[in-house]
Symmetry: C2
Amino acid sequence: MALIECIPNVSEGRRADVIERMADAIRSTSGARLLDCSSDAAHNRSVFTLAGDAGGVEAAVLALFERAIADIDLRTHRGEHPRLGAVDVVPFVPIEGVTMADCVALAKKVGAAVAERFRVPVYLYEEASDNPTRKNLEDIRRGEFEGLAAKMTLEAWAPDFAPAGPVAPHPTAGASVIGARMALIAYNINLATDRLDVAKKIAAAIRHSSGGYRFVKAAGFKLEDRGIVQVSMNLTNYEKTPIFRVFETVKREAERYGVSILESEIVGLVPSVALVSASEFYLQLAGFKSDQVLENRLSSYK
Amino acid sequence: MALIECIPNVSEGRRADVIERMADAIRSTSGARLLDCSSDAAHNRSVFTLAGDAGGVEAAVLALFERAIADIDLRTHRGEHPRLGAVDVVPFVPIEGVTMADCVALAKKVGAAVAERFRVPVYLYEEASDNPTRKNLEDIRRGEFEGLAAKMTLEAWAPDFAPAGPVAPHPTAGASVIGARMALIAYNINLATDRLDVAKKIAAAIRHSSGGYRFVKAAGFKLEDRGIVQVSMNLTNYEKTPIFRVFETVKREAERYGVSILESEIVGLVPSVALVSASEFYLQLAGFKSDQVLENRLSSYK
């Protein structure tokens, strides 16, 4: 089974009818399934999660673009979350039976189609971009929709895919950022203490920005209502920085302060293989193949 | 998604054309998939693994019966493995979105159909039987095909489903044992030692028959070629006696002899949930729901 996840972020989080029409646009295509939709009114933004094979995901994303461009006008859009376009960000994520290269190719194919069909300029990001200044979404999005017309005229910020004619944002839909990345796991570890300093020190020890693991973002928080603290993390590449290694490191660092792990939690979705690899580690499984998982065997025979 | 696994054991392990025709019979039905077929010439026996929803598995098993009865004659069948019938044993196993009660109901439905349609008497076993003397497959099969005609006349061994007319085995296909059970995990732990006594003592400590866990069968073996020993196990109910608890107990018992675990291995298929539950244990995951596994979410939307 070839399985790609796609998580389009759209600049509409308030008008329920508009959001529902976009969800319907995704559902109306075949070959991909809409797994989740969550909207944030303060951000005025919705995040769709869908999955399917390359062709299915492509068709669903293009259907979403068509609907979003018709219903969203960035000139009047207000919200707390930075945004550049009506369909703001579209990451493709390899889950099963596909490579990152497959997802990069898909991002480029969809990017070209969006520019041509909808006249929306497209920036490629993360794995889909070879340009180091375009790896990071925040760099591309800086200046937002309001600053886009000026930014786009700079040679350094020419779009990767632009409609024919003068280089300019789409008047109401701005530009879109399309790319490929690893699945992101939102992972929190709660400590059996109320000492915020311990959570902050552990977060600093494990996160990339301060010398920790390459694919960990982390911060320490207080959970006031429960009287405990939390190391809150994003694991941005669960293959290269696996969940079990992060857990064991947090556990060992906490011990140094006489603190135990109370529990951990995965927020949202997690690919099966990220949990299976934890089992392989702890059970010291040798020679385990993913097609020994009954459900995987079944799907590969579909 | 409703997913039932079925593992029919058939009394033919030598004639490749006959085995292939049986596999084709399973494949010719829809709603279930043939995941594996392994044949043993010495046992003169083949084991098919298939999975699907209740209706799909039922259709596949009945198609297998029709083919097997036409091609197999127990009167001339010889092999090392004990057997009672052409289709010797048919266990139904709940995997996902179905209960054991569903599988018991399916075993009874298929059992009644086999007796009526093919005139093969059927014994229910394990969870599908309320009779304590019929829980254990070996008790039902004792005496084998050759002793079946005499055994069947005993009141205690009247079939659960019998064709109309005098109670007697099918002349060439004997009788079949059909039932429901939990998925069985074949699990081995290799110890970093050549001391067979340690493997045997650990096996005795963890297996049900000598005071260990309720759903563990275990024995100690020497792996001569590797110079190590193995605790070889069948885990017969991974929900009630989970794999991580067995692993941790073997590890602790081995420590008592100054021995470490070298590695463990899962032989054949394992349901995803058995590995996910190990991750939940080791990562101390709180409030984790199986539909957070991306692949599960996807299949539940199909």
